[in-house]
Symmetry: C2
Subunit: 439 residues, 2 copies
């Protein structure tokens, strides 16, 4: 039957993020086989026959947000060490615990991260960490959309004595999740300052061979630039370019210490840049030249980075910070308008994810990845501009429903795919393990 | 009876903010006649006889946050105009609507603002606006603690054709609320750039005569400095000093364009400085030299400013922004540590409020102004450092209970003093009025 669907949603507002940035008042969405079958004014949608009708009332439906650079596992060290200079923080507090990491901790901590994401309206993420197979196991459990990659380093990690094993694991993961609707795999050399030529070239070749994204931290700090200049005689982006790492499959996180010439090159190569405002501020890495990147019409996405340097994984926070920080820093109150920021967290994230061309918008045939926010919360009242509220007023905790591929994963405090109270017990055990290891 | 109280609270954590910054695990608080009668480990507290026991489980109790500079009424224009240069925003969008303001709009919009504050853990605020008597009426209705002041301008406002009337209203309000437990009144000349010598001197004298706080916007932008230099031959802070405006009763909001020499003067005069990070960023007013102010050991508080330039009134957001912005701006990840920021939002706010010496901490004899946050939310897990979570991880929407002077004003989505769904109807009418006036 043409007008039969699985789920029919009805709400006061729909922010479609489609090509026309249509905002529908009193709208409906018909979901069928995980995709959007129809979307429009409720008058045109009410005749749809649905197995389930979700009458959401005074809510706002929008595309699920996409976190384009994160390390979900790092919830396990949330608030463990703050307010410290970067190197003291990394070498004195984070690395020693990470050195003892094990897959079960990764699975539990990642699942907590995905719970936080779904709770706050993020339905997809681009992740990189150690024991990434355990991260993707948690992503499958949570039902979230995820691109994962095993972090590759020139030195041994808790997960891999040598990066070649990491590459083999990447190949195995890519094989395992080939054709999976929600899970995909990337090749993820950690950065230029923690790798070497051989590793980066092998990563580039595997990404090309298997047609996978290549996700890397790039130009995060001036220290990284100084080290790259000293080792290679090139700034990080030029060094990456010299090895052929920059292509439309590349996701470059941070780009804090980057120049207009470099933006021009990145735009030409089609690289997706990921801005991480909270992490850059908290670690005092510098302030990325986002207004200049925006002027170059580069593909731009937003990320939370890991929750040790944030300390949350909430894309509403990242949108808010992207919009505010660059106004304050540039002295221009018109910099980074709300719509541009929302585009970064939806369209930009979808480009980083490289899973489906219609992700990040609510349009016919797009995957039904969407969220609904309660407009009755006092901070959402009154409403003149939905996009303004999403960027400036919403905390993310107004989210009442998160859906991926047509499946409700979170609604009104409940996660559909896993036992959240049981997860909290497991998180308590992880915390105990961290404190014992430290002692 | 010695061990009888009105309310006994029991929770997993209590962040006392007392002189020792004690954090109590598995703690209890006994409330009697609006004050804290006892506080300590649950073992020592469980013998208290209470009319009501609030078993809060895995929650964190802390002092209610204090918003030290706000314009609660401005909720009525939340998201009405964003991403605009300051003068275009003010003169093209905000002032024309404000010119038609009326007390009933002020009452409704302020009540919405207080609802947002109580919902997100703010139990007291320092407010300045037009028709402030209607703001205080709403504060009484909500039950929130509030210091209010009628904004005084050299030009006619919607509320007052002449500032002398504003001063008379201030006197009348001070008389009306004299001895009130929760409501107090300040003399509030708007700023040095919207007033004149006569107004400022009269305001200073009334504050001294009636022993009231004096609350003013000061040194907010470089444009203000330029105007003050041109009109008075003095920078704004020096001009204020020349008129004798700086004293321990003075609350100076913003101080963005301020120097170390000026901080030294302000510290000497005992002025309370209020930092408004979100507003300063959104309006591109500049970045206040907060690390330098902190080094001067000045009394420092935090404010949301009005929700047109923010667009929220959430002190967890302000704490987060104060902690992150100045790390990013100064390049020092150790700048503005979490404890300093929490002190600003509690002790600093209490100093601005000038109501009770023990406000801002949970200690015996302090007013029972407290909030409870749900630690089971994913972003609050795991917990190593409560203070870190309050500043970096909490959105404010984890608040499940807000209490002022021993009275529960908000709990689990319900406001005890007013009909929130009815308020939303009134807010809808205000929105309609704004749009009609604009058309």
């Amino acid at each position: 039957m043409e007008n039969q669907c699985t789920t029919l949603l009805h709400s006061a507002f729909i922010v479609t993020q489609d090509a026309q940035r249509r905002i529908i008042e009193d709208g409906g969405i018909a979901v069928k086989q995980g995709r959007i079958a129809a979307i429009g004014a409720w008058q045109e949608m009410r005749h749809w026959q649905a197995q389930e009708v979700l009458e959401l009332g005074n809510m706002l439906i929008m595309p699920g947000l996409i976190n384009a650079h994160t390390h979900a596992t790092m919830t396990f060290l949330r608030g463990f060490a703050d307010d410290l200079p970067l190197m003291e923080w990394l070498t004195g507090h984070i690395f020693p615990v990470e050195a003892r990491l094990k897959p079960e901790v990764v699975r539990v901590a990642s699942l907590l991260g995905f719970a936080e994401m779904l709770r706050t309206g993020t339905t997809a993420c681009v992740d990189m960490y150690l024991f990434e197979s355990a991260v993707l196991q948690a992503a499958v459990q949570a039902g979230i959309r995820c691109q994962g990659g095993e972090g590759l380093f020139a030195f041994p990690s808790a997960a891999c004595p040598h990066w070649q094993q990491g590459l083999e694991q990447t190949r195995a993961l890519a094989e395992k999740y080939k054709g999976n609707e929600r899970i995909s795999v990337a090749v993820t050399p950690h950065s230029v300052y923690t790798t070497n030529d051989a590793l980066l070239i092998a990563a580039r070749d595997m990404a090309a061979e298997l047609d996978l994204p290549l996700h890397i931290h790039l130009a995060e700090t001036t220290e990284e630039t100084a080290q790259s200049l000293s080792q290679h005689g090139l700034r990080p982006i030029a060094y990456a370019e010299s090895l052929g790492l920059l292509s439309p499959r590349t996701i470059a996180a941070h780009l804090v210490d980057s120049t207009e010439e470099e933006h021009s090159l990145l735009a030409q190569r089609g690289v997706t840049a990921v801005h991480n405002p909270s992490s850059n501020m908290k670690l005092a890495s510098g302030i990325a030249p986002l207004p200049q990147m925006l002027a170059h019409a580069m593909p731009l996405a937003l990320g939370s980075d890991g929750p040790t340097s944030n300390n949350r994984m909430n894309m509403f926070t990242e949108m808010h910070h992207a919009a505010l920080l660059h106004k304050g820093h540039s002295g221009n109150a018109a910099a980074l308008p709300a719509q541009s920021v929302l585009d970064m967290a939806t369209h930009g994230g979808a480009r980083a994810l490289q899973q489906h061309p219609l992700l990040g918008m609510l349009a016919v045939d797009a995957p039904a990845d969407l969220i609904a926010l309660d407009l009755n919360e006092p901070n959402m009242q009154p409403l003149y501009s939905p996009v303004s509220h999403l960027v400036y007023a919403a905390t993310g905790m107004e989210v009442r429903l998160s859906m991926v591929a047509g499946e409700v994963l979170y609604r009104d405090g409940l996660f559909s795919r896993f036992d959240y109270p049981a997860l909290l017990q497991e998180v308590a055990a992880v915390r105990h393990w961290v404190l014992k290891k430290q002692a």
